[in-house]
Point group: C2
Chain length 275, copies 2
């Protein structure tokens, strides 16, 4: 069974899913994207992802000529045709074809269903280790395709045997390359607010958490991790992954905390109710 | 007459020059490139461009499986077939096809002949205005495809009616998005050394200049522009464009300087001799 993609309004089989080499995304990294999940053939929080995609696109003067209804309908069609169960949906909006990097953009718009990545169960039960790295993503509020640094740091992850990198700038924690970061200090849930890409999962987590814990959206310094009792990261594919060490130092007692476990339960219940 | 491109070893007509949408350059900005000129069907300093392309590629673990001789031969063939006189040659090396952003890369390698951009003669005789902008390119020594910020700043250029943006960080000048920057202070030629992409034209200019002027490769502060007598930028397509104002303040007397004119003459002679 083949896979199908959406390319500028057409549903195209995988083998024929190509783009011209003059595309400004390919040639100049001028492109944005978003990435949503599906459960039981239903799109999960797709409206939130479309909203963010439109924000990213407007920031780069890229006009998406399809309505939300049209994009949603096309995405659902691809899910129906897809060879994977519960695929993820990637939508890319590029600067289109250009020889001159001029300001007149007629975007290329792609919708690509993909196998949703899964993570080892140990990560959820024993927690992940992170390594901090000084770096600030360019225009972090725009979900551009620039993940060069993220991919380049695979060597660093491997060498240090950690699950992921935790970006910091001048000792202030921002985010992981593809996840948001949270800590619990006693019953206060703290997460960075600025210079990050605000995840859809981050938003859901905050909505679920406020009934149980006080929430602070603010700067977290690296030093503050010493007084954190629990930590975790969130993303569309990872949901909640507990973080039990940063830079080889334990967070709290180095085990997955009770509050994080409760949030994971709340989030799983939420998915079940909304899919 | 059609145009032809090189795609992974094949010479392909423009209309059929496509790349699969799973390419890691398109999806994640994981790609590098270089860009050379031709004069009279001959490649100009192509070895220097290939050397820099290989440096950029190695830094991202991208292996170019073709020899310099193979790439040169293919480029010359494209020049021969090209509908433009003296086309520029763009070579792109991407992370190849990947669903997982993993470290195993089998690059896609493209060679694309393009119409060489030209600039208005006034720029060479009356000079260009620049506007400074605080920004540091990521991994500046790697010629990655990430020019999102450059393109995004077209609005700033237009609004301020300047030819280009001059990047600075903490008041130290680095480079323009696609050019290197030089000043003359009396008979001393000064150009930034660090946190820049070292242009092939920059190298030729320094080779030509050292016989006539003292050269200093070092930090240039924005304030130092007040004592500069002349300024100019260099790039593969621009050669030397005199800079007569930065942030609306004149450089020297605001006219194209005699030393810059002499360098332009030296450079034109050099091109004639080497093409």
């Amino acid at each position: 069974m083949d896979n199908y993609n959406f390319i500028n309004g057409d549903i195209v089989s995988e083998g024929e899913s190509v783009i011209g080499i003059r595309d400004l995304g390919l040639q100049r990294g001028y492109a944005v994207f978003d990435y949503a999940r599906t459960f039981n053939k239903k799109l999960f929080h797709f409206d939130d992802h479309l909203k963010r995609l439109r924000n990213s696109s407007s920031a780069l003067n890229l006009n998406i000529k399809y309505s939300d209804a049209e994009l949603t309908e096309s995405a659902l069609k691809l899910v129906e045709l897809c060879k994977f169960n519960d695929p993820a949906i990637r939508i890319i909006v590029t600067g289109g074809y250009s020889n001159s990097s001029s300001l007149v953009f007629e975007p290329n718009i792609l919708i690509i269903p993909e196998e949703t990545p899964t993570y080892h169960n140990d990560l959820y039960t024993r927690g992940a280790g992170l390594i901090s790295f000084e770096y600030q993503r360019e225009l972090p509020m725009i979900k551009s395709v620039n993940y060069l640094n993220d991919i380049r740091l695979n060597d660093l992850r491997k060498k240090n045997n950690v699950f992921d990198v935790l970006y910091q700038l001048h000792d202030s924690i921002t985010e992981c390359p593809r996840s948001n970061f949270f800590i619990f200090i006693n019953d206060i849930l703290v997460t960075p607010k600025d210079f990050i890409l605000k995840g859809v999962t981050r938003k859901i987590i905050l909505d679920l958490a406020y009934k149980y814990w006080q929430i602070e959206e603010r700067v977290i310094s690296l030093a503050e991790l010493n007084s954190a009792h629990e930590a975790f990261i969130t993303s569309t594919t990872k949901n909640i992954i507990p973080v039990t060490s940063v830079d080889k130092k334990n967070i709290g007692d180095g085990r997955v905390g009770k509050r994080t476990n409760k949030l994971m339960q709340l989030f799983n219940d939420y998915i079940k109710k909304n899919s």
